[in-house]
Symmetry: C2
Subunit: 186 residues, 2 copies
DNA sequence: TATCGTCATGTCAGTTTCTGACATCAGATC
DNA sequence: GATCTGATGTCAGAAACTGACATGACGATA
Protein backbone atom coordinates (compact mmCIF):
# COMPACT_ATOMS: atom_id res chain seq x y z
CA UNK A 1 0.00 0.00 0.00
CA UNK A 2 2.20 2.81 1.17
CA UNK A 3 4.88 3.53 3.68
CA UNK A 4 2.38 4.10 6.48
CA UNK A 5 0.36 1.98 8.84
CA UNK A 6 -2.64 0.68 6.92
CA UNK A 7 -6.17 1.30 8.06
CA UNK A 8 -5.99 5.05 8.44
CA UNK A 9 -9.72 5.26 7.78
CA UNK A 10 -10.60 2.90 10.61
CA UNK A 11 -8.17 4.53 13.03
CA UNK A 12 -9.76 7.89 12.28
CA UNK A 13 -13.23 6.51 12.94
CA UNK A 14 -12.13 5.00 16.26
CA UNK A 15 -10.27 8.13 17.34
CA UNK A 16 -13.26 10.27 16.40
CA UNK A 17 -15.89 8.44 18.42
CA UNK A 18 -13.53 8.26 21.39
CA UNK A 19 -12.91 11.99 21.32
CA UNK A 20 -16.56 12.80 20.76
CA UNK A 21 -17.41 10.77 23.84
CA UNK A 22 -14.65 12.41 25.88
CA UNK A 23 -15.07 16.06 24.91
CA UNK A 24 -18.19 16.29 22.81
CA UNK A 25 -18.52 16.81 19.06
CA UNK A 26 -18.07 20.58 18.92
CA UNK A 27 -15.12 20.62 21.30
CA UNK A 28 -13.26 18.11 19.14
CA UNK A 29 -11.41 19.46 16.11
CA UNK A 30 -10.52 17.45 13.06
CA UNK A 31 -6.89 18.13 13.94
CA UNK A 32 -7.44 16.42 17.31
CA UNK A 33 -8.85 13.35 15.60
CA UNK A 34 -6.01 13.22 13.09
CA UNK A 35 -3.37 13.43 15.82
CA UNK A 36 -4.89 10.56 17.78
CA UNK A 37 -5.14 8.48 14.61
CA UNK A 38 -1.53 9.25 13.77
CA UNK A 39 -2.20 11.00 10.48
CA UNK A 40 -2.53 14.59 9.29
CA UNK A 41 -5.66 16.65 9.08
CA UNK A 42 -5.44 16.52 5.31
CA UNK A 43 -5.69 12.75 5.37
CA UNK A 44 -8.88 13.01 7.40
CA UNK A 45 -10.52 15.05 4.68
CA UNK A 46 -9.33 12.61 2.05
CA UNK A 47 -11.08 9.80 3.90
CA UNK A 48 -14.22 11.69 4.90
CA UNK A 49 -15.91 14.47 3.01
CA UNK A 50 -16.60 16.40 6.19
CA UNK A 51 -16.30 16.14 9.94
CA UNK A 52 -19.70 14.53 10.43
CA UNK A 53 -19.07 11.80 7.89
CA UNK A 54 -16.60 10.02 10.15
CA UNK A 55 -19.58 8.72 12.14
CA UNK A 56 -21.54 7.67 9.07
CA UNK A 57 -19.12 6.31 6.54
CA UNK A 58 -20.18 4.79 3.26
CA UNK A 59 -23.91 4.01 3.29
CA UNK A 60 -23.66 1.75 0.24
CA UNK A 61 -23.43 -1.54 2.09
CA UNK A 62 -26.09 -0.50 4.60
CA UNK A 63 -28.60 0.59 1.98
CA UNK A 64 -27.81 -2.47 -0.13
CA UNK A 65 -28.88 -4.69 2.76
CA UNK A 66 -32.37 -3.29 2.33
CA UNK A 67 -32.49 -2.94 -1.44
CA UNK A 68 -30.96 -6.34 -2.15
CA UNK A 69 -33.59 -7.98 0.02
CA UNK A 70 -36.32 -6.06 -1.79
CA UNK A 71 -34.92 -7.15 -5.13
CA UNK A 72 -34.53 -10.74 -3.98
CA UNK A 73 -38.11 -11.07 -2.80
CA UNK A 74 -40.28 -13.42 -4.89
CA UNK A 75 -41.79 -11.79 -7.96
CA UNK A 76 -45.28 -12.40 -6.66
CA UNK A 77 -44.55 -10.70 -3.32
CA UNK A 78 -46.39 -7.43 -2.73
CA UNK A 79 -44.35 -4.26 -2.08
CA UNK A 80 -45.18 -4.55 1.59
CA UNK A 81 -43.99 -8.16 1.70
CA UNK A 82 -40.76 -7.15 0.00
CA UNK A 83 -40.26 -4.48 2.63
CA UNK A 84 -40.84 -7.02 5.39
CA UNK A 85 -38.07 -9.11 3.86
CA UNK A 86 -35.84 -6.03 3.84
CA UNK A 87 -36.49 -5.38 7.54
CA UNK A 88 -35.49 -8.93 8.43
CA UNK A 89 -32.33 -8.63 6.37
CA UNK A 90 -31.46 -5.26 7.87
CA UNK A 91 -31.72 -6.72 11.34
CA UNK A 92 -28.84 -9.00 10.44
CA UNK A 93 -26.71 -6.02 9.46
CA UNK A 94 -26.55 -4.94 13.11
CA UNK A 95 -26.01 -8.39 14.60
CA UNK A 96 -23.31 -8.19 17.23
CA UNK A 97 -23.02 -4.42 16.84
CA UNK A 98 -25.30 -3.52 19.72
CA UNK A 99 -22.56 -2.09 21.98
CA UNK A 100 -21.13 0.06 19.21
CA UNK A 101 -24.60 1.15 18.09
CA UNK A 102 -25.32 2.37 21.62
CA UNK A 103 -22.16 4.46 21.76
CA UNK A 104 -22.76 5.89 18.32
CA UNK A 105 -26.39 6.69 19.06
CA UNK A 106 -25.42 8.46 22.28
CA UNK A 107 -22.95 10.67 20.43
CA UNK A 108 -25.34 11.46 17.60
CA UNK A 109 -28.28 12.36 19.79
CA UNK A 110 -26.10 14.85 21.66
CA UNK A 111 -25.55 17.08 18.64
CA UNK A 112 -27.93 18.81 16.25
CA UNK A 113 -25.62 18.64 13.25
CA UNK A 114 -25.22 14.90 13.68
CA UNK A 115 -28.94 14.34 14.15
CA UNK A 116 -29.45 16.24 10.93
CA UNK A 117 -27.02 13.99 9.11
CA UNK A 118 -28.75 10.94 10.53
CA UNK A 119 -32.08 12.13 9.18
CA UNK A 120 -30.56 12.60 5.76
CA UNK A 121 -29.25 9.06 5.88
CA UNK A 122 -32.77 7.90 6.55
CA UNK A 123 -34.17 9.94 3.69
CA UNK A 124 -31.65 8.42 1.32
CA UNK A 125 -32.46 4.95 2.54
CA UNK A 126 -36.14 5.60 1.96
CA UNK A 127 -35.40 6.79 -1.55
CA UNK A 128 -33.27 3.72 -2.25
CA UNK A 129 -35.98 1.36 -1.05
CA UNK A 130 -38.60 3.19 -3.09
CA UNK A 131 -36.44 2.82 -6.18
CA UNK A 132 -35.97 -0.89 -5.53
CA UNK A 133 -39.72 -1.25 -5.24
CA UNK A 134 -40.28 0.62 -8.48
CA UNK A 135 -37.85 -1.73 -10.19
CA UNK A 136 -40.12 -4.55 -9.08
CA UNK A 137 -42.95 -2.82 -10.88
CA UNK A 138 -44.61 -0.96 -8.02
CA UNK A 139 -46.18 2.37 -9.04
CA UNK A 140 -44.16 5.36 -7.82
CA UNK A 141 -46.62 6.60 -5.16
CA UNK A 142 -47.04 3.09 -3.74
CA UNK A 143 -43.28 2.61 -3.73
CA UNK A 144 -42.71 5.94 -1.96
CA UNK A 145 -45.22 5.31 0.77
CA UNK A 146 -44.37 1.68 1.34
CA UNK A 147 -40.73 2.66 1.65
CA UNK A 148 -41.68 5.32 4.20
CA UNK A 149 -43.66 2.75 6.11
CA UNK A 150 -40.62 0.49 6.16
CA UNK A 151 -38.16 3.11 7.38
CA UNK A 152 -40.55 4.49 9.97
CA UNK A 153 -40.96 0.98 11.33
CA UNK A 154 -37.25 0.27 11.21
CA UNK A 155 -36.26 3.44 13.01
CA UNK A 156 -38.88 3.07 15.70
CA UNK A 157 -37.70 -0.51 16.15
CA UNK A 158 -34.06 0.59 16.18
CA UNK A 159 -34.81 3.11 18.90
CA UNK A 160 -36.32 0.39 21.07
CA UNK A 161 -33.51 -2.03 20.24
CA UNK A 162 -30.72 0.40 21.06
CA UNK A 163 -32.42 1.48 24.29
CA UNK A 164 -32.45 -2.08 25.61
CA UNK A 165 -29.55 -3.25 27.74
CA UNK A 166 -29.15 -6.55 25.97
CA UNK A 167 -29.14 -7.18 22.25
CA UNK A 168 -32.35 -8.66 20.84
CA UNK A 169 -33.42 -9.64 17.32
CA UNK A 170 -33.70 -6.31 15.55
CA UNK A 171 -35.17 -7.76 12.36
CA UNK A 172 -38.00 -9.49 14.18
CA UNK A 173 -38.65 -6.39 16.23
CA UNK A 174 -38.86 -4.23 13.10
CA UNK A 175 -41.34 -6.60 11.49
CA UNK A 176 -43.40 -6.51 14.66
CA UNK A 177 -43.40 -2.70 14.71
CA UNK A 178 -44.41 -2.67 11.07
CA UNK A 179 -47.38 -4.82 11.96
CA UNK A 180 -48.34 -2.42 14.71
CA UNK A 181 -48.18 0.49 12.30
CA UNK A 182 -50.29 -1.26 9.70
CA UNK A 183 -52.91 -2.10 12.28
CA UNK A 184 -52.89 1.50 13.44
CA UNK A 185 -53.73 3.00 10.04
CA UNK A 186 -56.00 0.21 8.80
CA UNK B 1 -34.56 51.48 15.96
CA UNK B 2 -30.91 52.09 15.23
CA UNK B 3 -28.93 54.35 13.02
CA UNK B 4 -29.23 52.05 10.01
CA UNK B 5 -31.79 51.22 7.37
CA UNK B 6 -34.35 48.87 8.90
CA UNK B 7 -35.07 45.46 7.41
CA UNK B 8 -31.54 44.13 7.25
CA UNK B 9 -32.85 40.58 7.52
CA UNK B 10 -35.13 40.94 4.51
CA UNK B 11 -32.47 42.71 2.44
CA UNK B 12 -30.09 39.86 3.18
CA UNK B 13 -32.65 37.27 2.08
CA UNK B 14 -33.34 39.14 -1.17
CA UNK B 15 -29.65 39.67 -1.89
CA UNK B 16 -28.92 36.02 -1.18
CA UNK B 17 -31.46 34.51 -3.55
CA UNK B 18 -30.43 36.95 -6.27
CA UNK B 19 -26.78 36.05 -5.94
CA UNK B 20 -27.51 32.33 -5.73
CA UNK B 21 -29.41 32.62 -8.99
CA UNK B 22 -26.66 34.66 -10.63
CA UNK B 23 -23.57 32.73 -9.53
CA UNK B 24 -24.75 29.61 -7.76
CA UNK B 25 -24.74 28.82 -4.06
CA UNK B 26 -21.13 27.72 -3.68
CA UNK B 27 -19.74 30.58 -5.72
CA UNK B 28 -21.50 33.11 -3.50
CA UNK B 29 -19.82 34.05 -0.24
CA UNK B 30 -21.56 35.42 2.79
CA UNK B 31 -19.44 38.54 2.34
CA UNK B 32 -20.93 38.97 -1.15
CA UNK B 33 -24.44 38.75 0.23
CA UNK B 34 -23.66 41.22 3.02
CA UNK B 35 -22.20 43.76 0.60
CA UNK B 36 -25.25 43.66 -1.64
CA UNK B 37 -27.53 44.01 1.37
CA UNK B 38 -25.50 46.94 2.63
CA UNK B 39 -24.41 45.36 5.91
CA UNK B 40 -21.37 43.54 7.20
CA UNK B 41 -20.73 39.82 7.21
CA UNK B 42 -21.06 39.80 10.98
CA UNK B 43 -24.62 41.08 10.70
CA UNK B 44 -25.47 38.23 8.36
CA UNK B 45 -24.48 35.71 11.00
CA UNK B 46 -26.46 37.55 13.61
CA UNK B 47 -29.58 37.24 11.46
CA UNK B 48 -29.01 33.69 10.21
CA UNK B 49 -27.28 30.88 12.05
CA UNK B 50 -25.51 29.74 8.90
CA UNK B 51 -25.33 30.40 5.20
CA UNK B 52 -28.09 27.94 4.28
CA UNK B 53 -30.56 29.43 6.73
CA UNK B 54 -31.02 32.57 4.65
CA UNK B 55 -33.19 30.53 2.28
CA UNK B 56 -35.23 28.89 5.03
CA UNK B 57 -35.78 31.44 7.74
CA UNK B 58 -37.92 30.76 10.76
CA UNK B 59 -40.09 27.66 10.24
CA UNK B 60 -42.39 28.51 13.15
CA UNK B 61 -45.15 30.13 11.13
CA UNK B 62 -44.97 27.51 8.41
CA UNK B 63 -45.19 24.56 10.79
CA UNK B 64 -47.91 26.30 12.78
CA UNK B 65 -50.07 26.43 9.65
CA UNK B 66 -50.18 22.65 9.76
CA UNK B 67 -50.28 22.09 13.49
CA UNK B 68 -52.88 24.77 14.16
CA UNK B 69 -55.16 23.16 11.60
CA UNK B 70 -54.64 19.76 13.21
CA UNK B 71 -55.46 21.21 16.62
CA UNK B 72 -58.49 23.07 15.28
CA UNK B 73 -60.05 19.98 13.67
CA UNK B 74 -63.26 18.77 15.34
CA UNK B 75 -62.65 16.52 18.32
CA UNK B 76 -64.41 13.64 16.58
CA UNK B 77 -62.22 13.90 13.47
CA UNK B 78 -59.86 10.99 12.89
CA UNK B 79 -56.11 11.68 12.69
CA UNK B 80 -56.32 11.31 8.93
CA UNK B 81 -59.15 13.83 8.73
CA UNK B 82 -57.16 16.25 10.87
CA UNK B 83 -54.24 15.88 8.47
CA UNK B 84 -56.52 16.56 5.52
CA UNK B 85 -57.53 19.81 7.22
CA UNK B 86 -53.86 20.64 7.68
CA UNK B 87 -53.13 20.10 4.00
CA UNK B 88 -55.92 22.45 2.98
CA UNK B 89 -54.66 25.07 5.43
CA UNK B 90 -51.07 24.68 4.25
CA UNK B 91 -52.15 25.29 0.69
CA UNK B 92 -53.25 28.75 1.78
CA UNK B 93 -49.80 29.46 3.17
CA UNK B 94 -48.37 29.47 -0.35
CA UNK B 95 -51.18 31.43 -1.97
CA UNK B 96 -49.70 34.06 -4.26
CA UNK B 97 -46.18 32.84 -3.60
CA UNK B 98 -45.91 30.65 -6.66
CA UNK B 99 -43.33 32.78 -8.49
CA UNK B 100 -41.11 33.03 -5.44
CA UNK B 101 -41.54 29.33 -4.67
CA UNK B 102 -40.32 28.49 -8.17
CA UNK B 103 -37.20 30.59 -7.82
CA UNK B 104 -36.47 29.20 -4.40
CA UNK B 105 -37.04 25.62 -5.49
CA UNK B 106 -34.74 26.07 -8.47
CA UNK B 107 -31.94 27.30 -6.23
CA UNK B 108 -32.41 24.59 -3.64
CA UNK B 109 -32.51 21.69 -6.08
CA UNK B 110 -29.20 22.86 -7.54
CA UNK B 111 -27.24 22.24 -4.36
CA UNK B 112 -26.82 19.20 -2.14
CA UNK B 113 -26.36 21.16 1.09
CA UNK B 114 -29.59 23.03 0.47
CA UNK B 115 -31.49 19.87 -0.42
CA UNK B 116 -30.27 18.42 2.83
CA UNK B 117 -31.58 21.38 4.78
CA UNK B 118 -34.89 21.08 2.97
CA UNK B 119 -35.21 17.45 4.00
CA UNK B 120 -34.55 18.39 7.60
CA UNK B 121 -37.28 20.97 7.40
CA UNK B 122 -39.62 18.25 6.24
CA UNK B 123 -38.60 15.94 9.07
CA UNK B 124 -39.26 18.67 11.61
CA UNK B 125 -42.63 19.37 10.07
CA UNK B 126 -43.51 15.69 10.27
CA UNK B 127 -42.50 15.62 13.93
CA UNK B 128 -44.57 18.73 14.65
CA UNK B 129 -47.65 17.25 13.00
CA UNK B 130 -47.18 13.97 14.84
CA UNK B 131 -47.02 15.84 18.13
CA UNK B 132 -50.17 17.79 17.29
CA UNK B 133 -51.92 14.49 16.55
CA UNK B 134 -50.74 13.01 19.82
CA UNK B 135 -52.15 16.00 21.65
CA UNK B 136 -55.49 15.13 20.08
CA UNK B 137 -55.20 11.71 21.67
CA UNK B 138 -53.80 9.69 18.77
CA UNK B 139 -51.47 6.87 19.82
CA UNK B 140 -47.83 7.64 19.05
CA UNK B 141 -47.37 5.12 16.22
CA UNK B 142 -50.58 6.23 14.52
CA UNK B 143 -49.57 9.84 14.90
CA UNK B 144 -46.12 9.21 13.43
CA UNK B 145 -47.36 7.37 10.40
CA UNK B 146 -50.32 9.63 9.70
CA UNK B 147 -47.99 12.60 9.87
CA UNK B 148 -45.63 10.87 7.41
CA UNK B 149 -48.56 10.22 5.11
CA UNK B 150 -49.45 13.90 5.27
CA UNK B 151 -45.98 15.23 4.52
CA UNK B 152 -45.36 12.70 1.77
CA UNK B 153 -48.59 13.80 0.13
CA UNK B 154 -47.85 17.47 0.64
CA UNK B 155 -44.38 17.30 -0.82
CA UNK B 156 -45.42 15.27 -3.80
CA UNK B 157 -48.21 17.77 -4.35
CA UNK B 158 -45.84 20.69 -3.89
CA UNK B 159 -43.52 19.24 -6.53
CA UNK B 160 -46.36 19.10 -9.02
CA UNK B 161 -47.61 22.55 -8.03
CA UNK B 162 -44.24 24.23 -8.37
CA UNK B 163 -43.56 22.51 -11.69
CA UNK B 164 -46.70 23.98 -13.22
CA UNK B 165 -46.45 27.28 -15.08
CA UNK B 166 -49.51 28.77 -13.49
CA UNK B 167 -50.48 28.72 -9.85
CA UNK B 168 -53.20 26.24 -8.93
CA UNK B 169 -54.88 25.36 -5.62
CA UNK B 170 -52.10 23.64 -3.68
CA UNK B 171 -54.30 22.59 -0.78
CA UNK B 172 -56.79 20.83 -3.03
CA UNK B 173 -53.97 19.19 -4.93
CA UNK B 174 -52.40 17.90 -1.72
CA UNK B 175 -55.69 16.42 -0.57
CA UNK B 176 -56.05 14.73 -3.94
CA UNK B 177 -52.53 13.26 -3.74
CA UNK B 178 -53.26 12.03 -0.23
CA UNK B 179 -56.28 10.21 -1.61
CA UNK B 180 -54.13 8.61 -4.30
CA UNK B 181 -51.66 7.45 -1.69
CA UNK B 182 -54.34 5.97 0.52
CA UNK B 183 -55.83 4.09 -2.38
CA UNK B 184 -52.37 2.84 -3.30
CA UNK B 185 -51.70 1.20 0.04
CA UNK B 186 -55.22 0.06 0.82
C1' DT C 1 -32.48 70.27 27.55
C1' DA C 2 -29.28 67.00 29.29
C1' DT C 3 -28.19 62.51 30.57
C1' DC C 4 -28.57 57.69 30.34
C1' DG C 5 -29.68 53.08 28.81
C1' DT C 6 -30.84 50.15 24.97
C1' DC C 7 -29.62 47.52 21.12
C1' DA C 8 -28.76 46.61 16.35
C1' DT C 9 -24.81 47.14 13.97
C1' DG C 10 -19.75 47.84 13.03
C1' DT C 11 -14.97 46.48 13.79
C1' DC C 12 -11.49 43.24 14.45
C1' DA C 13 -9.00 39.28 15.69
C1' DG C 14 -9.17 34.63 15.82
C1' DT C 15 -10.49 29.51 15.26
C1' DT C 16 -12.04 25.86 12.44
C1' DT C 17 -13.52 23.64 8.38
C1' DC C 18 -12.35 22.39 3.95
C1' DT C 19 -9.61 22.61 -0.68
C1' DG C 20 -5.91 22.82 -4.25
C1' DA C 21 -1.19 22.07 -5.63
C1' DC C 22 2.81 19.79 -5.22
C1' DA C 23 6.32 16.72 -2.85
C1' DT C 24 7.54 12.18 -0.96
C1' DC C 25 8.41 7.41 -0.76
C1' DA C 26 7.19 2.09 0.08
C1' DG C 27 5.86 -1.39 -2.63
C1' DA C 28 4.24 -3.46 -7.01
C1' DT C 29 5.47 -4.06 -11.95
C1' DC C 30 8.39 -4.85 -15.59
C1' DG D 1 17.23 -1.65 -10.90
C1' DA D 2 14.20 1.76 -13.27
C1' DT D 3 9.52 3.12 -13.30
C1' DC D 4 4.94 3.62 -11.94
C1' DT D 5 1.29 3.91 -8.53
C1' DG D 6 -1.14 5.65 -4.84
C1' DA D 7 -1.69 6.93 -0.18
C1' DT D 8 0.12 10.28 2.60
C1' DG D 9 2.66 14.65 3.98
C1' DT D 10 3.37 19.63 3.51
C1' DC D 11 1.88 24.11 2.77
C1' DA D 12 -0.85 28.02 1.61
C1' DG D 13 -5.20 29.84 1.49
C1' DA D 14 -10.34 30.65 1.09
C1' DA D 15 -14.48 30.76 3.47
C1' DA D 16 -17.54 29.82 7.41
C1' DC D 17 -18.36 31.08 11.84
C1' DT D 18 -17.54 33.21 16.81
C1' DG D 19 -16.31 36.24 20.76
C1' DA D 20 -15.23 40.75 22.57
C1' DC D 21 -15.65 45.30 22.42
C1' DA D 22 -16.86 49.93 20.24
C1' DT D 23 -20.32 53.02 18.18
C1' DG D 24 -24.18 55.90 17.75
C1' DA D 25 -29.34 56.82 16.85
C1' DC D 26 -33.26 56.58 19.55
C1' DG D 27 -36.37 56.53 23.43
C1' DA D 28 -37.02 57.30 28.28
C1' DT D 29 -36.35 59.91 32.26
C1' DA D 30 -35.13 63.77 35.16
Amino acid sequence: MGRWQPGARERLAVAAIELFEERGYDATTVADIAVRAGVTERTFFRQYADKREVLFGDPTAYNATFTDAVAAAPAEATPLEAVVAALRAAGGFFEGRHPYARRRTAVITSNAALLEREQIKRVHLTDAIAEALRERGAPAPVAALTAELGTVAFHQAFARWVAADVETDLGALAVQVLGELRAAIA
